[in-house]
Amino acid sequence: MSLAEEPVTLKEPVSGRSLWQDALARLARNRAAMASLLILAVMALASILGPALWPHPYDRVYSEYVRVPASLEAYPHEDRIVPEMQRSLARARVDIGAVTVAGDTVRAEISDEEPIDPRMIRYVERSDLFSRVRLAETSADGRSAVLEAEVARLFFIAGTDGNGRDLFARILMAIRISLAIGLLATAVALVIGVTWGATAGYLGGRVDNVMMRIVDILYSLPFIFFVILLVVFFGRNLVLMFIAVGAVEWLDMARIVRGQTLSLKRREFVEAAEALGVSDAGIVRRHIIPNVTGPVAVYMTLLVPKVILLESFLSFLGLGVQEPLTSLGVLISEGAKNMQGASWLLIYPSIALALLLFALNFLGDGLRDALDPKDR
């Protein structure tokens, strides 16, 4: 509050802090938002890198481990090793002698009336429990032998699903798909919605009327019906999901942006730009769009979880992504069917979805608070 407003002389070259930098600094002080950001980053990284690093591919079927509960101990359990070996050998139609387990090695004495064909070890190899199967100590006449195999220790920390696929790998994959749908559909909504809304709001008059009536008409189409129609015509695929969700969600964005634009249009800096002779496109690009980024960014962070939920809902109805690909909605839908026998199938995907939605919503709230000029 200097008396005479003399130009301040500055020693170092100053670079101003933009409103965005200010807002991000405020966001950085918001613990809940930062925790959410961390969770999101971890989930995103895990979903991108995880499936490549995790020992189980998301679509590998372990037929011996159908619907095993989540456990931190390695499978198989001791009491299953001997029966499983006997079952495998029985399939190979050999006579089974004593089966002993020593450490990670299983030894089975086998004999047959014919000489034993070494290829019979495939029957054992086929089982998910055993690896490095070999015939040791084949007798001279070849009619009896000792079969040795290592017990493959597998971890299913989130259990397996009804087809014997590792649930954790599937959850990672599902997060990847859900996040991708969320982000891409939001990006579609963003591009169409902001352009559409800013143009309609800025030009106003008849153009605005026509553009917004189109939005109203699209609004009145029943969304589910629309999606079913698309799926019937084009079959289920991921790209279709993006289009379907994005095509509906941009309507809200267009309305928000139009409302903001209408009030921005009356601001004096827009009038000043007009007086400078800036073209309509220039005003929309340089003045309108940068000034709607605040509300749009907030709406976007809240739109991502909304889209994820929508996708989950569609997947729950069976209109979503196609097996063996999966999404959180698909997993939860399967989990719901198996709730009684295999509760983990419902619990873990639900936790993942809830965590994702919480983080996104907290981040959105934090962003809104950070951008709220009243806090300044």
Binding site: M1, L3, A4, E5, E6, P7, V8, T9, L10, P13, V14, S15, G16, R17, S18, L19, W20, A25, R26, R29, R267, E268, F269, E271, A272, A273, E274, A275, L276, G277, V278, S279, G282, R286, H287, P290, N291, T293
Partner: protein, 547 residues
């Protein structure tokens, strides 16, 4: 002054060592530091200061209305109770009943969803347990007391159906509803036209004589203080720098800051230009009409004539001051001349009729006609740097310029308005109001226009800053032989800058002539009223209006 300033009037409010601090991210900000003041029954005390001096926060603290991150300490004794130490519940009983407040902006202080009668009645129903019927009757009395014309009908009006002055009267009626001891008025007339301002002050004075409450009057306008208050506290940077009876302070200000405030009236006159100077802009029968939808009652399409067949000429190097109350069409006229709103009639600029032209295509003309707006906060896009704002016009008019060349031009333009060119990379929110107004001027000047429309460029600024902007405008005009169309409701500034004045009312020209002529011998009643009201706030003797 009222009642001859009784000596042993009872002290109503005694504030001791009041401190207000706000917790901000960059550390605490001390808005008020150790303020003492007293108010006696029936007395009017003014707190004067420029924006940011802490004058409003002082009373906000007393009323428990500080923002959530603010804290107040010290003592504020009202009838033996410390307002700062009261429980919210007890404080609520006192404020709104015994200590009431009126604010600067009467539109935003009234709830647009309720009829004004109900809004006045509500505190009476809740504070005093009156029935709605009785409260309504009292509300009507109050509306008559504050001289709202046709009060029986207005009691059922919504706030948007009232004019600014009437809304402020409603606010005063609400404040008086429970016979307060103390009325705090926070810049109650700043948002109003000068003529209305005078009426509101007169009303407050009469009410005080009748009801005997103490008034704490917060303002930046020393003219009002002089005629309205008995004692004054001058605040600067959260501290009281000078206090005393109004007469003493005005006669012999002791503190340099007070002297500066008193001297901040824009001085100087502009000599009129020669009759022979070429005409740069000529408007004949310029009219602007806005459609009013279906109208209030009628089915037929109505029009609002914002500017009605107005004729004006501007010669090179001349300043035409356009004055009038809000709603008189001053700003609309400016926008019509700049071709920002469609209009009828002829507008000739540099000898070409531009009324039918799309100026976006006629870039050569467009850049000659520039504008500076009133609100230095609204006229700069918050997301662009100063450099980008200032050079935006160059992108349009000289698209071939390289980035380095644009930066150089921006630096030159900023230097011209006395800002540090190193500030190019900063954003508008980092600047004060006066600095922003300089940036807005630089944005227009970079195109080297011939005609600059100044739409109330100084109205949102403190007096001392105002004076500097006036100096700057004067210098720019002399150096570049600029022509100004200067719109203002502030007659003191117009008098200092303009060589001719056009008085507007309801879209029409009431009177036009050389500045000194108009100020010395206004011919029309409206002009006389405007002058009387304005000079009452410029510090003329109080008798003129005390009535």
């Amino acid at each position: 002054m009222t009642g001859g300033a009784g000596k042993e009037r009872q002290t109503l409010l005694a504030v001791r060592d009041l401190n207000v601090a706000f917790r901000l991210a960059d550390g605490p900000v001390h808005a008020v530091r150790g303020v003492d003041f007293t108010l006696a029954a029936g007395e009017t005390v003014a707190i004067v200061g420029e924006s940011g001096s802490g004058k409003s926060q002082t009373v906000m603290a007393l009323m428990g209305l500080l923002a959530a991150n603010g804290t107040a300490s010290g003592r504020a004794l009202y009838r033996g109770e410390d307002l700062l130490a009261l429980s919210p519940r007890r404080l609520n009983r006192i404020r709104g009943e015994k200590i009431t407040m009126i604010f600067q902006e009467p539109m935003s202080s009234l709830d647009p969803l309720y009829r004004v009668g109900r809004q006045i009645a509500e505190p009476m129903v809740y504070h005093r347990g009156l029935s709605w019927r009785a409260a309504r009757k009292r509300a009507l009395e109050l509306l008559k007391l504050v001289r709202i014309p046709d009060a029986e009908r207005r009691i059922d009006a919504y706030p948007h159906e009232l004019s600014g002055g009437q809304r402020q009267r409603v606010m005063i009626a609400m404040a008086l509803a429970n016979d307060p001891d103390i009325l705090i008025a926070d810049e109650p007339t700043t948002a109003l036209d000068v003529t209305i301002q005078a009426e509101i002050l007169k009303l407050l004075r009469e009410l005080q004589d009748r009801l005997g409450m103490g008034i704490v009057f917060i303002t930046h306008d020393l003219g009002i203080v002089r005629r309205f208050a008995e004692r004054v506290y001058v605040m600067r940077e959260g501290k009281v720098v000078e206090e005393g009876p109004v007469a003493d302070i005005f006669a012999a200000p002791r503190h340099a800051y007070t002297r500066m405030l008193l001297a901040a009236e824009p001085a100087g006159r502009k000599p009129p230009v020669d009759e022979a100077t070429p005409v740069i802009l000529e408007g004949r029968d310029v009219s602007v009409a806005f459609p009013l939808g279906g109208g209030f009652l009628g089915r037929q399409r109505q029009e609002l004539k914002a500017v009605d067949r107005l004729t004006l000429t501007l010669r090179e190097g001349e300043t035409l001051g356009v004055v009038g109350d809000s709603g008189s069409g001053k700003s609309t006229l400016a926008r019509a001349l700049l071709r920002l709103v469609p209009s009828e009639g002829e507008i000739a600029f540099l000898g070409r009729d531009i009324a039918g032209l799309n100026l976006r295509r006629e870039r050569g003309l467009r850049r000659q006609l520039q504008i500076v707006f009133q609100d230095p906060y609204g006229s700069l896009s918050p997301r662009l740097t100063i450099g980008e704002i200032v050079t935006e016009g160059l992108l349009v008019h000289e698209p071939s310029l390289s980035r380095a060349e644009r930066d150089r031009r921006a630096a030159a333009a900023l230097k011209e308005v006395q800002l540090d060119p190193a500030m190019q990379t900063r954003y508008p929110h980092e600047f004060s109001g006066g600095q922003r107004q300089r940036i807005a001027i630089a944005r227009a000047m970079i195109l080297k226009p011939k005609l600059l429309v100044l739409d109330e460029p100084t109205s949102a600024l403190d007096r001392s800053v105002q004076k500097e902007i006036v100096e700057l405008l004067r210098r720019l005009q002399a150096e570049h032989r600029l022509t100004y169309l200067f719109i203002s409701h502030d007659l003191a500034v117009v008098r200092a800058l303009a060589d001719r004045v056009l008085v507007m009312k309801d879209g029409r020209a009431v009177e036009e002539g050389e500045t000194e002529e108009i100020f010395a011998r206004p011919r029309q009643d409206y002009t006389k009223r405007l002058m009387a009201a304005a000079f009452l706030s410029a510090g003329a003797p109080a008798e003129a209006w005390a009535g």
